[in-house]
């Protein structure tokens, strides 16, 4: 053997040996939907929980969430954070974080990810800055203090900045990779280069998303060699594929199918409550709904527990209004949804002078789990107290929101994107929220409270404001009624050492694999 050949072989052989010794499994996960918009950019995929299943495998936020706990904030790409003042947060970045393009993450990547090329610039598709502004309504700039330190500076006081830094929409991308890929959003939206435990191999919209282990991941060597997310829209096909060992995981299992999977000894269904509530939104301009007592009567007529027990096998719950314990100090103890009381509902209808006018109830065909069955149960509950609701099945959101008709009530859901009511009640029902911008509902006091809460930093005062918001939106001038907290279920081969996080995220990081 020539010396040059020997040297070349000595360089190659260890790599081959490593490759051959890689006994990590390839895991295939059947999901109902990979991405609604055909891109992998969280800023375009902003309103869907479909992408929540895989985004954090590729892209990470500066502050992490404890997916094995209660989603509390934990060090992520930032090892520590502190308040400089009520509108500035300083992050100490984790050293030696290797990005998928082989470069080490620096403060430049953080600033770029929140800069004009990525979030707020004119060259971006026009919806991207608008969505980014919803995530960061008052972000002024990101200052680079040094290579490992950045400061997020807001234009106004904001107590939720740390929460926003842990939420979707704040993912960090590689500046170099973005520029090397042409610098345009369109190309980069399908080729995210981040810091997560898995890096993109291929993406075929509506078909598959294939990720390979990012072996230099700061959180340890990923336990899976290749993750394959395949889109299988039919529940039966996902379950059949799991039982026939074609998939190792089948996500988005409806509650009525849990027993189907569980009767097979080698499989199990994991999962539970997530930070999302199913709600029914009202159009207060509908003649029959103009009186708030009619909307409140609708809430009192609903036996949420019966729905949870019958359609969710008891694995969801009726929550304490539009809030989650995850809010921590902002959680309003003692608040409940209006109790199930048909007599009270009838009294309220009588007081309101309700004459049995038809109220359209717009529903999509199982966009939400068990949506049609739930709607049928609700219609009967409302009918039993004298409400004349009529289910209108709609194909898509524009039909649900169509002002012609007229609109009455409709199905919807609301998520806690981060641990503050600003992320949920203000986000959807506040002055810039969709329920107001599409003209269904408005309330001057709610709007004043929403604006005040966004910039108020006194927790006690904010909590009081939130309690008043709940009173307005769920009692005094109901904007919605809270039906139940949602749950998500994932079926898997029992032997695989994976736990279901308390979120939609299917976490295959080293932290969530193994006993």
């Amino acid at each position: 053997m020539k010396r040059r050949t020997f040297l070349a072989a000595s360089l190659v052989l260890p790599r081959v040996a490593i490759a051959q010794s890689d006994t990590r499994p390839t895991i295939t996960i059947a999901v109902q939907k990979i991405a609604n918009t055909g891109t992998l950019d969280p800023l375009r995929e902003q309103s869907s929980n479909a992408s929540e299943r895989w985004v954090a495998s590729i892209l990470e936020t500066p502050i992490g969430r404890n997916q094995r706990g209660k989603l509390e904030r934990v060090p992520g790409l930032a090892t520590a954070w502190k308040r400089i003042d009520d509108r500035t947060v300083e992050l100490a970045l984790r050293p030696n974080v290797m990005m998928h393009d082989g470069r080490t993450m620096t403060a430049e990547d953080i600033a770029f990810s929140f800069g004009p090329e990525r979030m707020f610039g004119d060259a971006l598709p026009k919806d991207i800055p608008a969505v980014a502004r919803r995530h960061w309504p008052a972000l002024e700039r990101v200052d680079i203090v040094d290579a490992q330190t950045v400061r997020f500076v807001n234009a106004r006081p904001d107590i939720t900045m740390e929460g926003r830094l842990s939420a979707g929409g704040s993912e960090i991308v590689s500046k170099s990779a973005w520029i090397d890929n042409g610098g345009a959003w369109a190309a980069n939206s399908k080729k995210p280069v981040g810091t997560g435990p898995y890096k993109l191999r291929s993406f075929e919209p509506d078909v598959s998303l294939v990720l390979d282990a990012h072996d230099d991941y700061w959180g340890g060597r990923p336990p899976i060699r290749t993750l394959r997310f395949v889109e299988v829209g039919e529940t039966a096909a996902r379950i059949d594929g799991l039982l026939s060992a074609r998939y190792e995981f089948a996500a988005d299992i409806p509650p009525d199918q849990i027993a189907t999977v569980a009767k097979h000894a080698k499989f199990q269904v994991l999962g539970g409550l997530v930070l999302n509530h199913r709600i029914i939104a009202h159009d207060k301009h509908h003649p029959a709904l103009a009186d708030p007592r009619v909307r409140l009567a609708m809430a009192h007529a609903v036996d949420g527990k019966a729905i949870v027990d019958s359609l969710w096998a008891g694995r969801a719950r009726v929550p304490p209004g539009l809030q989650w314990e995850f809010y921590g100090p902002m959680f309003v103890d003692g608040w409940t949804v209006p109790k199930y009381d048909p007599d009270l509902a009838q009294q309220l209808l009588k007081q309101a002078g309700y004459k049995g006018d038809r109220i359209a109830y717009r529903v999509r065909k199982d966009y939400y789990t068990a949506e049609v069955a739930t709607a049928q149960v609700l219609a009967e509950m409302w009918k039993s107290v004298g409400l004349n609701t009529e289910i209108e099945l709609k194909e898509n959101w524009p039909e649900v929101l169509d002002r012609a008709g007229p609109r009455g009530s409709r199905d919807w859901s609301n998520s806690a994107v981060f641990d503050d009511p600003v992320s949920s009640i203000v986000n959807q029902h506040g002055p810039e929220g969709a329920q107001q911008t599409n003209g269904e509902w408005t309330n001057a006091e709610m709007n004043d409270l929403s604006r005040a809460m966004e910039s108020n930093t006194d927790m006690a005062a904010r909590r009081k404001m939130f309690a008043r918001m709940l009173q307005i939106c769920e009692r005094d001038d109901p904007a919605y009624l809270v039906l139940h907290q949602n749950a998500t279920f994932t079926a898997k081969q029992k032997a695989l050492p994976w736990r279901a996080p308390p979120s939609f995220y299917l976490d295959f990081s080293p932290r969530n694999w193994g006993t």
């Binding site: 608008a130 502004r133 078909v207 299988v232 039919e234 096909a237 026939s244 599409n438």
Partner: protein, 311 residues
């Protein structure tokens, strides 16, 4: 003949324009793509920006004129979901669909036509009843039911075949069978009926009376005449090669044009839907044109009067 072809082509073009126009209007009146793609939680500013970017804030007639002007320039539009040319997105899916529909078409022909001929030649026998019972079952059981039953038997219970996807060599087997059985049943029924009608004709009796072997009578006289209605059905099947597997592709998670169409309609991805419909309409019209021409080949009496006789 040229005039005949010219008239047919003109009608075909008109059909394609009408199909695309219908789809254009219906899709725009039945849901705003901006809200559908971005969801109702999206900020109003984002929805407005999206509408403006894709010209959805223009009057529908302006959008219509722009669309046909673009087609005239050879551009079928871009996907609103990911910005790529619609034709590229559709073209990527065609091989996958043809990988199902062509074998399924062959299966329909190989099973359906011989079964129909056999049943006709053994009319009212046990074999005839068995073949027809199978044929009726084949085309009356919905493909999504048949597909799931096959998955239950061959994937879940026996573990022999994959239940979906396209990665393995054996992946197409179940979807092709699902597609093929239904079509074979239809062909068997039509072939049997056509054969029975022809077998009762005087020229068949004459041919038999002249001493021709029964096999030659069937092959030389009965089948060519019975082929005309059968060819009509086969023409429809050929025309459905591109978009004839919508349900089966969904059941088996097969990444073809049919599944793309479902997703594109659901998302109101207008350019992609219109591109697929344009393709489907063109294929169907072309298949019908070929069938019309084949009538003349199969039946010399129709050559001079093809337009009238073809119906």
């Amino acid at each position: 003949m040229l005039r005949f072809i010219g008239i047919r082509l003109g009608r075909a073009l008109l059909t394609v324009i009408l199909v695309v126009t219908f789809a254009f209007v219906v899709l725009r009146l039945s849901g705003d793509p901006a809200v559908t793609i971005m969801s109702p939680e999206a900020p109003q500013a984002a929805i407005d920006a999206f509408r403006h970017e894709w010209g959805l804030d223009q009057p529908i007639w302006v959008q219509y004129v722009d669309y046909f002007a673009a087609i005239a320039r050879g551009h079928l539009g871009d996907s609103m979901r990911d910005g790529r040319p619609a034709i590229d997105i559709v073209a990527e899916r065609i091989p996958a669909t043809l990988a199902l529909t062509i074998p399924a078409l062959l299966m329909k022909l190989v099973l359906g036509i011989p079964a129909g001929i056999y049943a006709a030649l053994h009319r009212n026998s046990t074999a005839d009843r068995a073949v027809m019972a199978g044929a009726v079952a084949g085309f009356t059981v919905p493909s999504f039911i048949l597909g799931l039953v096959l998955v239950l038997i061959f994937s879940v219970t026996l573990g022999w075949l994959p239940s979906g996807g396209r990665e393995m060599w054996s992946s197409p087997i179940l979807p092709v069978i699902t597609l093929g059985l239904g079509g074979a049943g239809i062909l068997a029924r039509f072939t049997r009926s056509a054969m029975l009608e022809v077998l009762g004709q005087p020229y068949i009796r004459t041919a038999s009376a002249k001493g021709l072997a029964w096999r030659r009578v069937v092959r030389g006289h009965a089948f060519p005449n019975a082929a005309i209605p059968t060819i009509t059905i086969v023409g429809f099947m050929v025309g459905s090669l591109i978009a004839g597997a919508v349900v089966v592709e969904s059941v088996f998670s097969w990444p073809g044009v049919g599944r793309l169409l479902v997703v594109a309609v659901a998302n109101r991805d207008l350019a992609v839907v219109q591109c697929i419909l344009l393709l489907v309409a063109t294929t169907m019209v072309a298949a019908n044109l070929i069938v019309d021409l084949l009538y003349g080949v199969l039946d010399p009496r129709l050559r001079g009067t093809a337009p009238a006789g073809a119906h």
